[in-house]
């Protein structure tokens, strides 16, 4: 167990380190560079720019800047937002809740729906339902999430007037019901792609398990069909899905970004888009790092989850 922990933490650190190098290189080698925001200011001379660059340490060699930044990051100093000078970690923290709420709800919906569709498709293989689910999943994977969001807003907000077109709550009314009604559309829109992915994998996993000997044993025991499906087929088919959930995390974060934009949801995705607009490098870099750390933690949790779900796997 200890060896597993140390191993995984080391692997995760290497991964985050590589991500940070890629991100740092991209931001600092880009033609505009961190100085571009000052270059826009009228009356700024080249000498002024050089002085600012010197103050910010931007005239040092890139590896030195990187190590400096890395040291600061490790000690919890992720820099300050160019926009309002508040610490990056505070900014990220302020937007984290909204994103986690959206991602969590949407993932729960996707897992529930995807599992159902996948298992039914496998149990009734080659049926009309299975065929529709297969084709439907391929189409769902092809629809741009943001466009699906626009169509949903058009139908359910503008035409039918059932649901709010965006944001997380109505100003002045922040009841639970108000939050929920704002959550419905964005979480379903974000779930669509993941239902498709989840149902495909679940179908394959179910088909794998369905023909194994222990399912035959369960039938030979005279168990009712629902019990065979739940305790023996689905229970075992879900194990590889835990790993999948970890691997899908970046896709879900990426999907949240566009969904938040379309639905003006005050989460990390919108923060990222806004920061891009302001050339707010520290926040952009912070979000890149944050998403990588989130993914590493997600995969780590998935590994632990698999070990809990499958007694054959020991962490070590």
């Amino acid at each position: 167990m200890l060896r597993f922990l140390v191993n995984r933490i080391l692997q995760g650190c290497v991964l985050i380190l590589i991500v940070s190098m890629i991100g740092f290189a991209v931001i600092n080698l880009a033609p505009g560079g961190p100085l571009s925001q000052y270059a826009m200011t009228p009356g700024m001379s080249q000498a002024d720019l050089d002085r600012i660059a010197h103050q910010m340490g931007l005239d040092r060699p890139l590896p030195v800047q990187y190590l400096d930044w890395l040291g600061n990051m490790l000690t919890g100093d992720w820099g300050r937002s160019y926009r309002d000078q508040s610490p990056v970690l505070d900014v990220v923290w302020r937007h984290l809740g909204a994103t986690l709420l959206l991602m969590g709800t949407s993932t729960a919906i996707a897992i529930a729906l995807g599992t159902m569709v996948g298992v039914l498709g496998a149990l009734k293989r080659y049926s009309i339902f299975d065929y529709m689910a297969t084709v439907g999943a391929m189409i769902a994977l092809s629809i741009p999430t943001f466009w699906f969001g626009l169509v949903a807003i058009f139908i359910f907000s503008l035409e039918l007037g059932w649901l709010p077109a965006g944001s997380m709550y109505t100003v002045g009314d922040q009841s639970l019901g108000d939050y929920l009604i704002h959550l419905i559309m964005p979480s379903l829109v974000l779930a669509l792609v993941n239902v498709a992915i989840w149902s495909r994998y679940m179908r394959t996993a179910t088909l794998d398990v369905m023909h194994q000997d222990f399912v035959r044993t369960a039938r030979a025991k005279g168990l009712p069909r629902w019990r065979i499906v739940s305790a023996h087929i689905v229970r075992n088919a879900l194990i590889p899905m835990i790993t999948l959930a970890g691997l899908q995390l970046p896709t879900i974060i990426g999907g949240a970004l566009v969904t938040e934009t379309v639905f003006t949801w005050p989460g990390l995705g919108r923060l990222f888009i806004d920061s891009l607009g302001y050339n707010d490098y520290p926040v952009i870099m912070g979000l890149l790092m944050f998403s990588a750390i989130l993914t590493v933690i997600g995969n780590f949790l998935a590994d632990i989850g698999v070990a809990f779900a499958d007694p054959r796997i020991r962490l070590g």
Binding site: S142, W147, L150, L158, F272
Partner: protein, 305 residues
């Protein structure tokens, strides 16, 4: 996979015509081709893509309007107003004309990004899988790193800081979507590296590049072609995402993504602004995904014979 095209090359020029027809016939009788042709969704996808491509590249010549022609008197015309079959946009430009020339850009960006990312992915996968050891560990770790944060974050960061011309967008999509191909190729090569013909080639002293490109690569073309087809679908989607968010193809140049850029604010008054380009994107991406699915069925070594 046998390659019928190589047959006529070796035959004398005088007999090349009959040989070519027989090669063509042999090609038509290829079980994989027949299997692909029987895949209804893949064929539907292929037909859709051909029609869509023809419409985008020939359509503009048949329409009475130019995609840049501004007619402020005809702003927000709904579809089927006069000759504006899909209506007009907030500047009175013809949406059909914009849709078709946007399609030229979106499809070209998607296709070229696929070519580039497949080349990058194949090269990395080949080297990692063939040489193994530290080069494998190093390259695959980098691949994992790229996979472990949402590629749209990196893509937007790049697009925000670089000048977003169509060429640059193509490059940006390519450098952020080669990882799947690299993983597939790496796994396939690892499976091939221990095979008899590879070992035999090593024994006769063939150089590494020869073994990689002449012995291994032809054997793993199937999975690469499938992955490449799915990458076109992905690349078209990614272009749409970044253009929608305003960091992709810049107006006045139209792309399917940037046509949707302002659509949200007019959703109430002019919903066709959002619907028409979205349907085009969905059609194109679905078609490539269907073709990829058909190719997977047809080229999967286990499913033939």
């Amino acid at each position: 996979m046998s390659n019928p095209q190589t047959a006529p090359l070796s035959s004398p020029a005088t007999t090349s015509v009959p040989t070519r027809t027989s090669a063509l016939r042999r090609f038509a009788r290829n079980p994989r081709l027949r299997k692909f042709m029987r895949h209804r969704l893949a064929m539907a996808g292929l037909v859709t893509i051909i029609v869509l491509t023809l419409a985008c590249f020939i359509g503009p010549y048949l329409l009475p309007y130019d995609e840049l022609y501004i007619d402020l008197r005809a702003r927000f015309s709904p579809p089927l107003t006069g000759a504006h079959i899909f209506g007009t946009d907030p500047l009175g430009r013809d949406i059909a004309a914009r849709l078709f020339s946007a399609g030229q850009i979106s499809l070209t960006v998607g296709f070229l990004a696929m070519v580039l990312s497949t080349l990058i992915g194949t090269a990395i996968g080949l080297v990692a899988g063939y040489f193994g050891g530290w080069s494998r560990v190093g390259l695959m770790r980098v691949t994992d790193a790229f996979l472990s944060f949402p590629s749209i974050f990196l893509m937007l960061t790049l697009a925000a800081f670089l000048r977003p011309s169509p060429t640059m967008i193509t490059l940006i999509i390519a450098v952020t979507s080669w990882m799947e191909v690299a993983r597939i190729v790496e796994a396939e090569v690892r499976g091939q590296a221990g095979r008899d013909f590879t070992i035999a080639a090593r024994m006769i002293g063939a150089p590494h590049w020869w073994i990689m490109f002449r012995e291994i690569l032809p054997n793993i073309m199937g999975p690469i072609i499938v992955a490449a087809t799915l990458t076109v679908a992905r690349a078209i989607l990614l272009e749409a995402y970044i253009s929608f968010l305003g960091y992709g193809i810049q107006p006045p140049l139209p792309s399917w993504g940037n046509m949707l850029n302002n659509a949200q604010q007019y959703l109430d008054s002019a919903p066709w602004l959002a619907i028409v380009p979205g349907v085009a994107i969905t059609l194109a991406v679905t078609s490539f995904n269907f073709i990829g699915d058909g190719l997977r069925d047809a080229l999967d070594a286990r499913s033939v014979n």
